[in-house]
Symmetry: C2
Subunit: 232 residues, 2 copies
DNA sequence: CCAATAGTGTCTCTCAGACAGTATAAG
DNA sequence: CTTATACTGTCTGAGAGACACTATTGG
């Protein structure tokens, strides 16, 4: 881990978020070596020049090695750089946001990582608090005008589950009719197979989720789509 | 310019955009050394570890040294990295978008840089074409729901100038009334001094721009504000 | 007077959102 | 039957956008 004198070191950090009990939570672990030994920190690592095909590939590899997860959603957040963020000198961290549904977590655990409420964070190593704050801001903002929250759910989900996610993120309720017309969905008009809604947002599956009531159709998300009008 | 075997080199690139004759144009220069000698390229450079306080500071310094400009607007775009983008090996480029009003350009020139229509680009060095494409997409998208286009104008501008900028970016006309009500502006209700509109978007100055017609009030932009509803 | 651009009030028509109604399951 | 949740049609009020009207300068 030699420090060059002429070019900063490059690492990749990941803000891995999930929604648990209605709260956004972030994966953190306690560092077991200097610098910032014993402090809580984000998962992160260095580019493997011989192995990684891109920065995104580095992020996926680091996440898999450290937490055992492939995220449902991954995007670059912002690159942090400066002389003071790491005591070893001028450094650069390419920060990413990743989302994972809570259901996958409970099944597998997350290694040495634990999840902390992003609105009630302990002290973090380096500039990781700043990274979490920006990531949360990005996710909350993007959730208000896009299908981003779909990636906090399993691959298939009901419209009611999706509405609940939105309401948890924004802490405000909407009537079912309003929510559905915003998405441009008319469930009854859908062909059972692969038919999509008009705006190409969701894909209807031919599966239903039962219970002791009328079964709800399951949907998958097509791609990240942006709304013309913000939700909240 | 030695290449380390264990950590990629980090550079900072800037996509400097302006609006000229109704077209978005990007600053490019012809490289005078290998690799990609004689190819057109974006302004860019390396972090000066002893000098730069942040990546943004690096971008500003590089821009000033190479083009002579301090941009009106600067934000990080995305960081590009991989083994193939530079023939010298695994490299990382922190890409930025910068905006400058055309009026400042004509006054000072831009050194060895010339401006090219982003919708009719020649072949570019490295992955610079990809960087320009993403930057333009970001600017066009952000322009549709924010005050970003204000930074393509001088510090003070009339509402008609602002409307013209929006119409040039989107290639579609709107009536004056519609445009003004979108911004939530009622010019007459403004106190001549520093009064702002309701949404805190623009600041009214007490200056007017004459001509052989009714003079138009000059405005300044307060900060980057996002609209709840997209313009186009 | 006219020309030219700045700024505003009005009218219409669409669409968001509340609400109440129907549909389908289990017990 | 009741209960519980899924889904949809209707009605109303707010707001976007077209258009025409007034305001203020120069010639």
């Amino acid at each position: 881990m030699k420090q060059s004198y002429t070019t900063p070191d490059v690492s990749v950090d990941i803000v891995l978020l999930t929604l648990d009990e209605g709260l956004l939570k972030v994966a953190l672990h306690q560092r077991d070596r200097a610098p910032a030994k014993h402090s809580l920190a984000l998962p992160g690592g260095y580019v493997h020049v011989g192995e990684d095909a891109s920065l995104e590939a580095t992020a996926k590899r680091v996440l898999l090695e450290k937490t055992g997860f492939a995220p449902r959603y991954l995007e670059q957040l912002r690159t942090f750089g400066g002389p003071a963020r790491d005591p070893r000198g001028w450094s650069v961290a390419v920060s990413h946001v990743a989302l994972i549904p809570h259901a996958e977590l409970s099944a597998a655990g997350a290694g040495v990582f634990q999840f902390y409420d992003v609105d009630d964070l302990p002290e973090l190593a380096f500039d990781h608090a700043e990274q979490v704050e920006e990531a949360v801001q990005r996710v909350r903002n993007k959730a208000s005008y896009s299908t981003l929250p779909c990636w906090l759910l399993p691959e298939s989900f009901t419209l009611t589950q999706l509405q609940t996610i939105y309401e948890q993120i924004f802490g405000e309720a909407v009537s079912r009719g309003t929510f559905r017309s915003r998405l441009g969905i008319k469930v009854a008009e859908l062909q059972p197979g692969d038919a999509a809604d008009e705006a190409d947002i969701l894909i209807a599956t031919d599966e239903f989720q039962g219970g002791n009531q009328r079964p709800a159709r399951l949907f998958k998300v097509n791609r990240l789509s942006l709304f013309k009008r913000a939700f909240w």
